[in-house]
Subunit: 143 residues, 2 copies
């Protein structure tokens, strides 16, 4: 989804389209596949729009977009959460617990396992994308 799509989503829900929100949407739309946290989103949004945007506005806007269903936040480790456009959550995150290296995994490598889990434990669905899957990468294991 491009920035205009996000903006249209806001407007269609009766929410106001402000300069800050426009800047944030532009950053999100431009950050294809990147792992942006709130601080980085703010940095880029301020730079791209030349206006001052408070960190709380970033969080509030993320919150709104999440409620619209077009955005999700993901925890890769102990640091700040990163966000993904819903359209781009077609992958899981595999993270090395020692060095933090992150690998994007196509969903279809895990959907079968997750569907089995859902079935066995009476869950309607299991997507598992809110948290990373943790392991140890090759380099960290051999050093």
């Amino acid at each position: 989804m491009d920035a205009e799509g996000l903006v249209r989503g806001l407007r269609s829900e009766g929410m106001r389209v402000t300069a800050a929100r426009r800047a944030i949407c532009a950053v999100l739309a431009a950050g294809h596949g990147e792992h942006l946290d709130a601080t980085e989103i703010r940095r880029r949004a301020e730079q791209g729009s030349a206006i001052n945007i408070d960190q709380s506005t970033i969080y509030r806007t993320i919150d709104v977009l999440e409620r619209l269903g077009v955005l999700h936040h993901v925890h890769l480790g102990h640091g700040p959460a990163i966000v993904h456009l819903s359209a781009e959550i077609n992958h899981q995150h595999l993270v090395c617990e020692h060095c933090g290296k992150t690998v994007d995994i196509p969903v279809d490598e895990v959907t079968e396992a997750f569907e089995t889990l859902a079935l066995r434990h009476s869950f309607a669905s299991v997507h598992g994308s809110h948290f990373a899957i943790v392991g140890t990468c090759h380099e960290c294991a051999t050093s």
Copy 2:
């Protein structure tokens, strides 16, 4: 592992066995399968030992036990981390993102999938137990 086992582990590594640590180990050993966070550990440890234990001591002791490899902390959601004795981490956690309901899943339901992931993405190992797996439970889906 019982409380004495934990205490012995400390001593064998040259670490000191104090009243606070004894109380914390007793709580951990007694909390079979429970999801204890630092605050609850403190509450029980103080109650069980009738001494004053600071929250930082809880965290420092968790840290020590984690370094000894007998304990791990796990994130089930946005709240505080919970801890598990290593001997009891034979399961994954499946959590409903709406109501927080948590189901313990035997590891063997996911090991195969995780081994495949490790193989494909050059990870030495994938245990995935540091974070919960998120989904939507039946009740939340139908309401």
